[in-house]
Each structure stands twice: as structure tokens, then as C-alpha cells.
Symmetry: C2
């Protein structure tokens, strides 16, 4: 949804036949190809429930049901093989590698990961990091993966593991991007007054980031910076309300407006 503001999106994923949403309706009118969406009969959709604490910057998991995610993985449709910009959302790194292997010659591959894969699937993750161009992770994960407390050093250490670009998300405090060529970009969080539900902020950031890069069709310094800014702005819409409502109710013009506000807020 986040990426679709910028151009066509090809979706890969698997849900059960219990899913309460008709995703073809949810994405109606948007250039989102759902050929890669498998609705598996007799299986149940992944579910997560959690509680946010304090200022919404901390959360605990109340329940997780892997359900269909513990079964056979989805596969990438043949008609997607020529995809040039690939985002591997958070899942087991071995599966991320397998899915990536089903795309012929991607130009730019970004991936998300999480604590569990860093501590328990270390070898797979290490292999993945050699095959991707960009890793998106949060500050805690960056510290865990690198073993370094300082985020600048942590990002440098992750670059040494393979990717050319590392983006460290720091929630309300914004994000930090480091590249192998020495580029350093820091962006504060969007000054949001409404934060109803941070769920999906990270995915929205990644979607906006990748959507903009795919639209730009290149990966230079300016494009990467703008992509981080678009990701930041789109995530701010997501957290302003529940579910996908923050994204389904806006247009690219709203995004451009907020991007301009953010740009004007950081210049000195």
C-alpha cells in the first residue's frame, strides 16, 4: 500500500482463507498486482496481538499465531521474475534468500529483519546480507546485530557484513542512513501530533522507501535520501490512525505536502 503511491507494485505473500479482508477490494484502484497473493484453503492467517506502553515507543507481544507462515512458503510468480526493485519483508532469512532466488536480475534489493533472526538464524542472515543491497532495521536490532552500542559504529559494522546501504530506524527519533561510499544521512522523525497505533510503521517506511526508489529508477545519493524522507512521511500517516486507514484516506499530494513540511523543518 505504501509503495503503490509511486507506481506499480507486485505483491508476494500467503494468507489463510479465514482472512476477514478481501485484499482485491482493499487494493482496488491501485496498481498492485496480486498474482503473488496465495489464499491457502484450510489454512489460517498469521495473527499478532500486542500492547503498546508509555509513549508508544515500547511494545510487548501478547500473542503470536504463525499459522500459514509455519507452512510451505509462497512463491514468486514467473511473471514477476524480471522485477528490478525487490523488498524482502521481515521473515526467516533462509526464506528471504529463497524468494530472492526466484527473481532474475534485480537492481536493488532491500530487506528487513528482526531480533529472532539475528540471534537464532545468524548464519542464514549472514548469507542474506551478502546478497542484498540494503538492510532496514531498528536501533535495537542494529545494536544486537553489530554488538556495538553506538549507532554510527553499529551501522558501519553492518555495512562490513555486505549491504551497500544500511538504514537504522529510531522510532520517534527518526532514522540514520549510512552507505559503503561514506554517505551519512540523518533525518528526525516527522513531528507528529497524533500517534494512535504505531503498528506497521516500519513496513510503511520500507514500502515508501522502496516505492520511491523504484519510481526514480536509480540509486544515487539524492534518491536514497529522498526515499528515506518519503518512508518517514508515509509512516507518519500510518501511525496517525488504525489499520491501513492512514494510507487509504490520502493521496500522493498529501504525501508531497508533508514531505515539503519535513524538508522545511530541517533546513538551517
Amino acid at each position: 500500500m505504501a509503495a503503490s503511491f509511486f507506481g506499480p507494485v507486485r505483491f508476494v505473500g500467503v494468507i489463510g482463507d479465514d482472512c476477514p479482508f478481501d485484499l482485491s477490494k482493499v487494493f482496488a484502484g491501485r496498481d498492485v498486482d496480486l498474482t503473488g497473493l496465495e489464499i491457502r484453503a484450510g489454512s489460517k492467517t498469521f495473527r499478532w496481538a500486542g500492547t503498546y506502553h508509555g509513549r508508544m515507543d515500547d511494545r510487548t507481544t501478547d500473542s503470536v499465531e504463525l499459522n500459514v507462515l509455519a507452512e510451505a512458503p509462497p512463491s514468486v510468480p514467473d511473471i514477476y521474475r524480471d522485477s528490478k526493485f525487490v523488498f524482502l519483508a521481515n521473515t526467516a532469512p533462509a526464506l528471504q534468500i529463497e524468494l530472492l532466488g526466484q527473481v532474475d536480475k534485480p537492481e536493488f534489493v532491500a530487506a528487513d529483519t528482526m531480533n529472532m533472526w539475528i540471534t537464532e538464524h545468524t548464519r542464514d542472515l549472514s548469507e542474506l546480507l551478502k546478497r542484498i543491497d540494503c538492510l532496514v532495521l531498528n536501533d535495537e536490532e542494529a545494536r544486537l546485530l553489530s554488538g556495538r552500542t553506538n549507532l554510527i559504529e553499529a551501522a558501519g559494522s553492518v555495512l562490513d557484513m555486505g549491504p551497500d546501504v544500511v538504514i537504522v530506524k529510531k522510532g520517534e527519533a527518526g532514522s540514520f542512513m549510512a552507505t559503503a561510499s561514506g554517505e551519512r544521512f540523518i533525518l528526525p522523525g516527522y513531528p507528529a501530533t497524533e500517534v494512535l497505533d504505531p503498528t506497521g510503521a516500519g513496513d510503511s517506511f520500507a514500502g515508501g522507501f522502496m516505492g520511491y526508489i523504484a519510481k526514480a529508477g536509480k540509486i544515487d545519493k539524492d534518491t536514497l535520501r529522498k526515499a528515506v524522507a518519503y518512508g518517514t512521511v508515509i509512516a507518519s500517516f500510518t501511525i496517525s490512525t488504525f489499520s491501513l486507514n492512514g494510507l487509504t484516506s490520502i493521496s500522493i499530494a498529501d504525501i508531497e505536502d508533508k514531505l515539503e513540511t519535513l524538508r522545511n523543518s530541517v533546513i538551517f
Copy 2:
């Protein structure tokens, strides 16, 4: 020390005759007028000792000896009465008001405060806020003073209490400035790799901020933004090592270099 990089500084304060430093030597070669420094015979200097935890973003106080600060306050020398730019460092708001009353016609007055004054000297602080142009405080203090969790709302609420400018410092996460005219400026923290001792970061920020404003001699939007950026950069030198060493070992050229790096790090 932080302000002296930009121009002449007039110092007001009181220490005991036990102070292990000769401040006239510490400030030698800098345009710092120490007429307002009282070295009180038979009194002991204020002392604070604390411990920093985790990533240095949290600290506990191990001991405080108010000593000379619990005695009669210092006074502003007559030759300082024409000062145009005044910074009231953190102390009891009643004393800040008293000191401010010893300056004839200041053009821009900024003040710092802390939790203790917010909760226990509420009326004095409220009076102070009506007499100053700018309040500099950290995120926790902004939330405490305003009773609002969201920092944007907290800053707005503090503006309603009197000052035209509010600067909320968020440590590693940078700072946020809001003005009564609707200006909103957000700046990430300087991407520091070395953080040895955060003690004095807030005072260094305020010193750099005020020093730049006094040098500029005006208080427009651009000046305020640049002042926040200079404060941020100077604080990053302070925390890179112990005591004043981070500031005594640098020149204005080092500060300009870092400012340029910070500026280039946030543009998109």
C-alpha cells in the same frame, strides 16, 4: 566557554575558595569578563556526582552538595547592566528573576530550568516564563511542565505560558524548536561516535545557542535555527571527552566544519 567562540561573554556566578581551578587561567585568552565571578572566602563550591547508565541517556545523582549555592546569590555587576542577550542558567526561578532584574533592557532572554523547579517552585517559574523570550528544557521537563505526552503539544503548551521560543532537547534524538509565530524546527542530534561524558551537554548547547544569537544581534527565524545547530555541534564536542577539554581544544573553525557536516547530513 561555549558562548565565547562567538564573541564577548559576561559571566555571573559564585564559587567557594576551595575551587581546584583558577577560572581566570581557564578562560585566559578568551573574551570572557569574570567581573561577575565571586570567589567567596570560607565557602565551598557546589558539587555534583552522578552515574551514567546504559547508553549514557540516563543518569542518577550520587551526591549533591549545594554549598555556596545555598548561601546569598551572586549579583550582576553594574557594568553588565546594559547587556542585551541574557542566559539564565539553571537555578531557582526566583533567583533567575532577581538576576534578570539587574539588567536594564535586555533584547533576548533565555532560561534553563529543571524538574525540581517545575514541581516545587511552580509559581515562581510561571512568573519567570512571562518575563523571558526563550525557555530551553529537555523532553522530560517539557512533559512535566506541560502535562502533555506528545512533545509537539508540550512545546505549544509551554509557548502559551509566556516565552516566544521553546527549545526541547531530546539528547541523542536531537532537538525541537517551536515559536509563537508558528515556526517549527527539528534537528537530529549530531551523529557522534565518541560519547565519553554527557555532563554539561545542556549548558554547552545553551551557551552555543546564546553565543551565536548575540553575535548575530537579531532574533529572526534563520538566526534561531542556526543558533540551535551551533548549540548542537558545540554540545557534541563537550560530550566527546571529560570536563571542558572538548571545548578548550577546539577553534571556531572546528565548529564550522562540524556545522557544515551536520547541515549536509540533513538535506534531502
